[in-house]
Amino acid sequence: MQTELMNQDNFADVLRGISQRRRQGTLEVRFADRAYRLVFVQGKIIEVLQPGISPAKELSKRLKAAGVLPESFELAAAGYKALWQEIQKHPVASSQLDQVSFERAVKHRVLDKLYEISAAQGAFLNFDSALLDIERDFLPSVSVGQFLLDVVSLEAEASRMAGLETPGKYLRRGEAQPQSLSEGEQVLFSLLNEPCLCEELRTRSLLSKFAFQEAVLELIEKGHIVVENDSPLLSSEEFLDKGLLDGIDASIDEAFGELAMQQENSVPEPQVLAQAVEPVLTISPSSSGPQRGAFTARVALMSARLAHNPFVPAVVVLCWVCAAVILPWLLWDSVFLSFVSP
């Protein structure tokens, strides 16, 4: 087990160290407000997990946002394999998604999760060589080198992408005939049957942030995609009225939806220990009286704080060590004395 503080200098070193030694295990990256667990096999990243978030559910959400899955689609079981089986059974979804696209969606979900990890924010790193027993079907194998290069490129082209993502700019097919397109470029080009916003295209493409950026900039350079300032669909006022406000509404719904999902996940799945142990502050409105409710709330709040305070295990350990040294001397004198003389 290796634990250290992450900064801009050592994060890449840690990843390279794991990759070069072809280690397997999990690297936990804990920020102040969120945490990630990177699963390594033979030095390559195969999955990125977050507490309380099921990767398969997250993927199904991405697929729904991309319009591949209908909104009515409900994922019954956990895991990519189960999701793929359910998609195959679904009459509409199965016609819109083949296995290659599904695998690509899984890979780009993992990549997007990786790009969310920013070394500049500062976090705790903790590598545990014990490998998690997770389902391996459909999981990608992302090389650390590739990821690190992607991060550098993302930062370098950030300003260009910001320009594309400004409100009012939309993308449409250019005049040039497409020749020798990469996989990502083909995906984007095929989706641009009609003009659309950059963000919308990205959502529909199911590509990761970097893959999308690389493909879209390449297509623009080749002239296969043209950026235009005025939307053919909405005026700027209409965009503000409808697009932006809808977006705000959606984000609020999404936030509540996530909270609801967290609460749902925290109790009924006993095998997901972390979810079961994560403190959920629930104050019953039917408590007898406001005083009791306030007290319960205070206790629950304290309990929640303690459950996340790394100081608590340290205190417990110190208690054990002190007691293990002192108690035998106090209580086992007859044991020690009986071996002092025949």
Binding site: T3, E28, A35, T296, V299, P313, V340
Partner: protein
């Protein structure tokens, strides 16, 4: 390959020497007392009425006088005389005299008289050449005053131990509690450190069934109580409770629980063995019997053994020794009865047949002796003593060819024994009762004798077990341990589950605890999830540290018997502990 074998031998010696010396205190006390008696001119030999033993006593008095006059030449002559008398009297070693000479040698060495010290050491080893206690006590001075090969000297000590059942049994008795205590504390520390490094997981598991509103408050308290409460019930209940916790919460470390359970079973089985040995060895009659099994019979041995035989009528080894003692005192008919009784109790085996054959030969019945020797040979007895005695019978029956053949076998098997017995024949005559070779019972028969039930043992056992595990008797300890071992087979290794993140993630341990774990020999292996290796290293280190700590009392023999060895031993153990910690730090990295 050869160097590997040599290495293994040296390691065996290094590991066995503390064991040997851990058994010494009671023994050493007895010898010191004897030495004091000898100095005062009063010893058990003084009561002797037989000529050789009385002459030995007289000669020793003369040696003391000569030492007082610093007449080394005369001392030398008298020691040579004493050596001859020893042979005539069939006394294997004069340990108490030899130890006195070692004390004198030490005094000379302290004042810088190296040559005198070397002289007295040589004479001491001449009087008791194969006594492990004499060899061990003489070791530091032998090293200082002469050039010896340390491994060969140590192997000489080991051979001495091997040929003295009394020493073996003292060794066994003296090593039981130190070993058990070392393993008990080793397991306890290993389990506690395993809990320490898994504290966050343990809190999460304890907190799982608790309501989330109180989990953060209650789980750490509950876990602390669970771990610390057993400490109030004594060490063995603590081991028991912690093993259970390991099985329930950390099944991936269930092998550590298995070791803890095995330690409980060992306590349950070995407390009766050790206490039985203790009571048994304290008995003067038993001490006479053990002297006899080492080939040393003192005056009054047969009377003491007869008195003991009346109390222990089921002890075959005792009747065997009684037979030998009676034969040496010329009471052949009584000896035959004793051997027959031993044969009934020990079952059909070769040793009583061979002794009966010797008895028959000495009482003048060579034909019966021949028949009994044939039976003994059929039962598998083929050692040097057997062939020497048989050659005498064949000579008596005028079968000179066979006699020569058997004597040749004796010489080829054990030239030293053949030489000694032939010398004794020359001095005492071929038909003398001391000019025959003694047959010794195998060690397991003596051990069986030691483990026979003794009066008032149960009270002692109950008292002792209450101290270690209140409310439990030795059988209950074994039962609890066996139940835990049974649980081991039902606890399956839990597979790691998808637990992306949880409470107390990235828990950093206090620096103090981290450093302590590195200082503890084997602690680093806990940090790399190898608690069984850690437990083994901890237990061995504790066992080696016990002679330095003088606890338990049986371990203090090392420092008492060879004080000169103490600095070397302390250095050796310190280096070993430091080496273990150093390797541990690298393993951890």
């Amino acid at each position: 390959m050869e160097s590997a074998v040599r290495f293994i031998k040296i390691v065996t010696l290094v590991v066995t020497i503390p064991l040997l010396l851990s058994a010494v205190p009671v023994w050493a006390d007895g010898d010191t007392a004897s030495s004091a008696d000898d100095q005062a001119g009063v010893s058990e030999h003084s009561s002797s009425v037989s000529l050789p033993l009385a002459r030995i006593q007289d000669t020793w008095r003369n040696i003391l006088e000569a030492m007082g006059q610093h007449d080394l030449k005369r001392v030398n002559q008298l020691v040579i005389e004493l050596d001859s008398l020893k042979l005539i009297a069939d006394v294997r070693g004069l340990d108490s005299y030899a130890l006195s000479l070692i004390d004198v040698a030490r005094r000379h060495f302290k004042v810088g008289q190296r040559s005198e010290a070397a002289f007295y050491i040589r004479k001491a080893l001449q009087l008791s050449p194969d006594s492990p206690i004499v060899l061990a006590k003489a070791f530091p001075l032998v090293r200082e005053t002469s050039s010896i090969s340390v491994p060969s000297y140590l192997s000489r000590i080991m051979n001495g131990v091997w040929s003295h059942p009394k020493v073996w049994l003292q060794l066994l008795k003296g090593s039981i509690y130190p070993l058990l205590l070392a393993f008990t504390f080793g397991v306890m520390v290993a389990i506690l450190l395993t809990f320490v490094i898994k504290v966050d997981s343990l809190i999460r598991m304890i907190g799982k069934p608790i309501s989330s509103a109180y989990r953060g408050l209650i789980a750490p308290l509950l876990l602390t109580l669970l771990v610390l409460l057993p400490l109030t019930l004594g060490p063995l209940w603590t081991v028991c409770a912690w093993c259970l916790c390991l099985y329930i919460f950390l099944p991936q470390h269930r092998w550590l629980g298995f070791i803890g359970s095995a330690v409980l079973v060992a306590w349950g089985c070995l407390i009766p063995v050790r206490e039985s040995l203790q009571t048994w060895l304290m008995n003067p009659g038993i001490q006479t019997m053990l002297d006899g099994s080492s080939g040393e019979f003192r005056e009054g041995a047969s009377e003491r053994l007869e008195a003991l035989a009346a109390q222990r009528s089921r002890d075959g080894a005792l009747f065997f020794s009684l037979g030998q003692a009676l034969r040496r005192s010329g009471r052949y008919a009584d000896a035959e009865h004793a051997f027959l009784r031993a044969e009934v109790l020990l079952g059909s085996q070769a040793w009583t047949r061979a002794e009966r054959a010797v008895n028959a030969y000495l009482s003048g019945n060579a034909q019966q002796a021949d028949a009994l020797f044939i039976e003994a040979e059929k039962l598998g007895l083929r050692n040097a003593a057997f062939y020497f005695n048989y050659s005498k019978v064949k000579l008596e029956l005028l079968d000179t060819e066979k006699s020569r053949e058997y004597l040749g076998r004796t010489v080829s098997m054990d030239p030293e024994l053949a030489r000694t017995l032939q010398q004794r024949e020359e001095l005492l005559g071929p038909d003398a009762r001391l000019a025959v070779a003694e047959t010794h019972l195998p060690f397991y028969h003596i051990l069986n004798s030691a483990l026979m039930p003794t009066q008032n043992l149960q009270t002692r056992l109950d008292e002792f077990s209450q101290i270690l595990m209140p409310g439990a008797s030795p059988p209950l300890m074994s039962l609890v341990g066996a139940a835990l071992i049974g649980m081991f087979f039902f606890v399956q290794r839990r597979r790691s589950r998808v637990v992306p993140l949880s409470s107390y993630a990235n828990t950093g341990f206090p620096q103090l605890v981290q450093r302590c774990m590195r200082i503890i020999p084997g602690g680093a292996w806990i940090a790399v999830n190898r608690p069984v290796i850690a437990c083994a290293l901890l237990s061995v280190s504790l066992f080696l540290l016990m002679p330095i700590l003088h606890w338990p009392f049986e371990s203090s023999g090392l420092m008492e018997i060879i004080p000169e060895l103490a600095p070397y031993y302390v250095s050796f153990v310190s280096l070993l502990v430091l080496g273990t910690c150093y390797v541990g730090v690298h393993v951890e990295e």
